[in-house]
């Protein structure tokens, strides 16, 4: 098939209509002390100490920023062990054994609306930094750095596209708590002194449009927020693609959107901002999708950060019978990381775990049909990059701008010969450094 194809079968029907299950009292949680961006850490508590919900238990050190680590349940500190992280590496995790009392730490209090109205950009940045809020859509980029921008922002864009197949956690989040999303957005707009905002959704998600316009009309008539229905294709949720469709702004590779007067936040991040500013609360709970064709009963789950995926799989009635080989994927099926065991922990930035039956696709020789070239959202020529990788020709890889690849996986998805093109482009990126 030679065609531009950005339609990806989305399988969201598995969980889209299901109300969210609450699983807020796990026997114990594991808190990541390292992550993709932070390699070292200091733990300020020791084994046997008692902690409250939201209490700071340590700090992660990143390259140019520090992230406080918070307890997500109240209980006793247990041992430090190695567990898989979303990035696919084993990292140190500290266990907190639940005492089922759910005592809030004394730092967690509600700010009144008057207090919030008096907050300046600097105050908000400070709060968000202290609560170690990061991009919850999966990027994990510290939100305070974005929020502290000195550029003049004309439009805040909330990215609720969720274009990856299978995922429905953002969808449920907006359906169930539209007020929190919009309030979070309001705080962001206040911090950035910006009057316009757009909430970007896929045009097929009409319920979200209904809910959001209703909430905006009734509860936030003073806000100038537009709900924009964008295309249904993949990767519509890529920030650059969102800006292109919602605002018509083309942002070149490697430039920050802030320079062009726009800034993007994920929906979950907006809710995180709401929690941080209104309740002075770090991210302790999140919406999560447990789905896939090898799970008996796919679910949307609201859970504590640090819950073990094993428990969640049991909660979804476990794997299907005679599953054979399985793939356990953290994140979406197009860009997520597959892990070697189900002994993984839900971190702040994990949007979902997808368990798929393994299908070994039979690769055929490339027939140069050009579907990958036609479909690439970053305007690359994946097949040519693949051939350059095969003959290890760095000059060509550079000439074809392999470094621009966003690893969306569309080239491998559309491939007529079922070749894993994305893997080759990834290799090219690594070779180019």
């Amino acid at each position: 098939m030679i065609k531009k194809s950005r339609k990806v079968r989305d399988y969201k029907a598995l969980t889209k209509a299901l109300p969210t299950l609450r699983y807020l009292n796990p026997p114990s949680v594991f808190i990541h002390l390292q992550n993709g961006r932070c390699k070292t850490y200091d733990l300020t508590v020791k084994e046997g100490d008692h902690v409250d919900v939201g209490e700071q238990i340590g700090v992660r050190h990143g390259g140019f920023f520090e992230q406080p680590v918070h307890a997500t349940i109240s209980g006793t500190i247990g041992k430090i062990s190695k567990k898989f992280h979303r990035t696919g590496r084993k990292v140190d995790c500290v266990e907190i054994v639940n005492d089922h009392k759910d005592i809030l730490h004394n730092l967690i209090y509600d700010r009144t609306d008057e207090e919030i109205a008096a907050l300046t950009q600097e105050d908000m940045v400070e709060i968000v930094k202290e609560k170690s809020l990061v991009g919850l859509g999966g990027s994990g980029f510290p939100t305070y750095i974005k929020l502290a921008t000195k550029e003049k922002i004309n439009t805040v864009v909330i990215n609720a596209v969720e274009c990856e197949p299978y995922l429905s956690s953002d969808y449920r989040l907006i359906l169930e708590h539209p007020g929190r999303v919009v309030t979070g957005l309001k705080y962001i707009m206040q911090a950035l002194k910006c009057d316009n905002a757009i909430i970007a959704i896929k045009s097929e998600k009409d319920p979200l449009f209904q809910v959001l316009t209703q909430v905006l009309r009734v509860r936030f008539p003073e806000l100038n927020v537009k709900v924009a229905k964008l295309g249904n294709h993949y990767p519509q949720g890529w920030e650059i693609e969102v800006f292109r469709w919602a605002l018509g702004i083309e942002i070149p590779h490697g430039e920050l959107p802030m320079k062009y007067g726009v800034i993007g936040f994920n929906v979950s991040t907006a809710v995180g901002v709401f929690d941080a500013i209104k309740h002075n609360m770090p991210v302790i709970k999140r919406y999560f999708t447990m789905t896939g064709d090898a799970i008996k009963f796919p679910q949307n789950i609201r859970l504590r950060v640090g819950t073990s995926v094993k428990e969640l799989i049991a909660l979804c009635d476990g794997y299907i019978e005679n599953a054979g080989e399985l793939l356990v994927i953290m994140g979406g099926p197009m860009m997520g990381t597959s892990t070697v065991s189900d002994d993984v922990i839900v971190s702040k930035t994990t949007t979902s775990v997808i368990v798929l039956k393994n299908v070994d696709y039979k690769e055929e020789p490339c027939v140069r049909c050009g579907s990958c070239v036609y479909s690439c959202p970053a305007h690359l020529e994946p097949v040519q990059i693949m051939n350059a990788v095969k003959r290890n020709d760095k000059e060509v890889m550079k000439g074809l701008e392999a470094f621009k690849c966003i690893e969306c996986g569309l080239c491998a998805y559309v491939c007529t010969s079922k070749i894993h093109v994305t893997d080759y482009v990834r290799k090219a990126k690594i070779k180019l450094g």
Partner: protein, 354 residues
Amino acid sequence: MENTLPKIIRKTSPYLRRPKANVTRMMRDVTIALLPVTGFAIYKYGMTALIIIALSILSMAVTEYLYYQLVDKLDGDKFKLKNKSYTLYNFSVITSGLIYALTLPDNTPWFVVIIGAMFGVFFGKLIFGGMGQNVFNPAALGRVFIFVSFGTMMSYDIDAVAGSTALTMLNNDVFNIAVLENFSLMNLFTGIGIPGSIGEMSAILIILGGVYLAFRTSFEVRIPLAYVGTVALLATVVALYKGLGVWYPIFHVLGGGLLFGAIFMATDPITSPITKGGRIYFGFALGVLTFFIRVFGAYPEGVVFSILIMNMFVTTFDYHKWTNQQITKKQKIIFLIVVLVTILVTIVGVSYVG
């Protein structure tokens, strides 16, 4: 526990693939698109056509089979009846054989058919490393090989009145309207009552195949459109310059193997450029070459030659310094200039030929 513990394995993203997309579907579609043309050939020439088609497909398939068995033997592998590189399973070899057969004249001797098929598949495909690696279109290579080596043995089933095929006449007397007395445009369009290669006569059935392929997205529409469009454009320019009337471009488009070559041979994705822009320029270059060979060259027909010549330049179209996923403004300007220069060259050439 009622079920066995599942084994969790590791892979890299993405984990999904487009359903229904595979090479077999693409190649099978080309074969299906060729069926009306094949049917017409058999209807018109009966057993002769059937023998040519069967011989072509068989000798290509057998050559490939023997080649892979030999390679296995040289590699010291054990004998397997089925070889995984063998492309009979994905219709690739059938498609090549069918296309090759349909470009042959009806009086081609059987051994010439076999030699051409074997040469085409061996030097056009196998020697480069099999499917997906070939530089030349196997069918076109085989066709040109026997055309050059055994040209005198292959003749068209010549009509007593017409005396030769449409393009041969046109080649002898380039701008003579008299050819129309023997070949009405309607006959060229339907393929009834005109001599020619067994599969290249009926324009309407070829276009039907093209439309089917376009609907199934199994080929690149841009190449035949650019190709045929260019020939039509240049022929129109000549017609205007010489005051020949509208029959001239139509004659060029419908006569000879242009439509067949444009729809079934030039669009072979393996031997055409990879980008949208590249494919349009490729079609344009093919059109220019074909037209020049027809009008200025020694041979009456230039489709297969131009396809083989341009196959060599595919890597040039795809060179990383100027290839681009999108058609840039710069490319458009350069392309426009090239088109204008080509028109100019055509006019100069035509006035020289007289």
